[in-house]
Symmetry: C3
Subunit: 224 residues, 3 copies
């Protein structure tokens, strides 16, 4: 039932290696959140799975690809367990290389916004909606992780470096490429690299998105 035309940007093997890499780094980020929140080993596993697979599962439910890919391919399921295992034993070391993790996480963000948008297109969604689902694929797992950890999702907060904007740019680029019939392995990689680089620069230079216009106006204060 899955219409595979656009989805197959890369060869199956390349696609799977990229997917598993993205899943792994997202799972590490989720597991580290659990360690920081003082959760037990079950909490570490749950947050690793949810962070890594949540965005893709929401996308697949919405486009009607059930059961979602995360529940068909065993590798998708095992990879977060492996990440949780590593974090459980090595979390001090992993924390020390967290700057490196951020780079990997940015790579996952770049990759998932591209493949998520392409998959939504392949299931017949329009360009704007496909791009929106690409963004959901990239940021949805992290949002569920933060909700479960009883925190405001990072993507909503103004005091965090921009996270959703790189995914928006990557997903928007893919939508434009599909519309102009120029999506292929090379252009898709360029879109993913662009989103990745934008995120890395945002981290490096603390780029933030603006809050509401005149947010500090006196009119507003009385509502706080």
């Amino acid at each position: 039932m899955p219409p595979q035309e656009i989805q197959e940007i890369y060869s199956h093997t390349v696609q799977q290696v990229l997917d598993l890499t993205g899943i792994f780094v997202f799972a590490v980020a989720g597991a580290l959140t659990a360690v920081r929140k003082n959760f037990d080993v079950i909490g570490i596993v749950v947050l690793a799975e949810v962070t890594a697979l949540g965005g893709g599962v929401i996308r697949d439910l919405i486009i009607g690809d059930v059961p979602p890919a995360a529940f068909r391919d065993l590798g998708y399921f095992i990879t977060p367990l492996f990440a949780a295992f590593i974090v459980f034993f090595l979390h001090p070391q992993v924390e020390r290389i967290y700057a490196t993790i951020d780079i990997f996480d940015a790579a996952g963000l770049g990759l998932f916004c591209v493949t998520g948008t392409a998959k939504a297109f392949a299931y017949g969604l329009g360009p704007v909606q496909a791009a929106a689902l690409g963004i959901v694929t990239a940021v949805g797992g992290g949002a569920i992780r933060d909700v479960l950890a009883n925190e405001i999702p990072m993507l909503l907060r103004w005091d965090r470096e921009i996270y959703t904007v790189p995914a928006m740019l990557g997903a928007g680029l893919v939508a434009a490429l599909v519309e102009t019939d120029t999506l292929n392995a090379i252009t898709a990689t360029c879109a993913a690299v662009f989103a990745f680089a934008f995120r890395v620069l945002a981290l490096r230079y603390n780029w933030r998105a603006p809050r509401a216009w005149r947010r500090n106006s006196e009119v507003f204060e009385k509502y706080e």
Copy 2:
């Protein structure tokens, strides 16, 4: 695949105008929540989209109408962006007319509980379940908004004017109308107006739902 018999209460154009109106006012409420929580522009857009479309997406996933209407009709998707744009620049003015917004929001509530129930019926659900999905359509988006903003959903709290009860009454009325084969544009509008008026009166006179019987009993206190 969508079985359209009952769903078409109104002509397509009327239905769409009503839908977009409801989506717009819900999106304004979501965007204002984001401004109050000091979220950035991305947070404003995300909460506007989620508040406006969340209830309908859950309903469509449950009845099996995928991709959900919100991901098929571009207007459904663009309208919250427009609302977010307005709130971003004009939020002090919008806050000032928040009493007016409450009226619009009540209109959205009345409309969505009616159309949500009718759509669930058209997909073959029983009257109780269809009414439940009508309520979900009306209050689900706001609940997701509050969870993302790390607050207890308004509909659960006893210190807020009743919000779910009007939706329950509207959805229950529609279920009764379908069962008695008397649902049409006029009776549906009456149900929506009734839910709307009930909500407005609840706001005006601070109607609240009761808490558990003898909630302040001494037996209970020791658990707090």
Copy 3:
């Protein structure tokens, strides 16, 4: 469309009695949470429904059984209302017998992890993924309840007796039974009883899952 081979472990009547028992005790736990959080009667009903049906609805959406069983069988829907009604009037008495409730809740946990895994298998999922959905069926409703109540889900916290581990063991047992073609009413009951007993013992002896290895290391402290 539902492929019923494996799912029919018990006769239809037995299955339904067990399901409704599990739904009832989960609903009581949800309604009591609402009373403790000082929610109104609507909040009590919502948390009762969500706790009792949430896990099964997520499972059914993922395996593609829509509308979910909870929206087809009216009994599934009415039972939580009945539980909410009882808690609304009798909550001090119910609180007093909460230890008894814990036993019932453990029975629901044991039952749902078994039937959830079996149903996922019947829809074609692999053993690991089916077991994962069995766990989701058992603990998902409680997780949604805690998120709505703005608390960290019990299953993630290290300061609670283990809750997910019994479900994991029960679901894993069922997966092994299906793989070895030995799942029947007797072995399934044994798996459910095993998960149930494990949970009761965990409560009795305060069993807890470990936190991350060397969680208190000095390296970690600076991140807190």
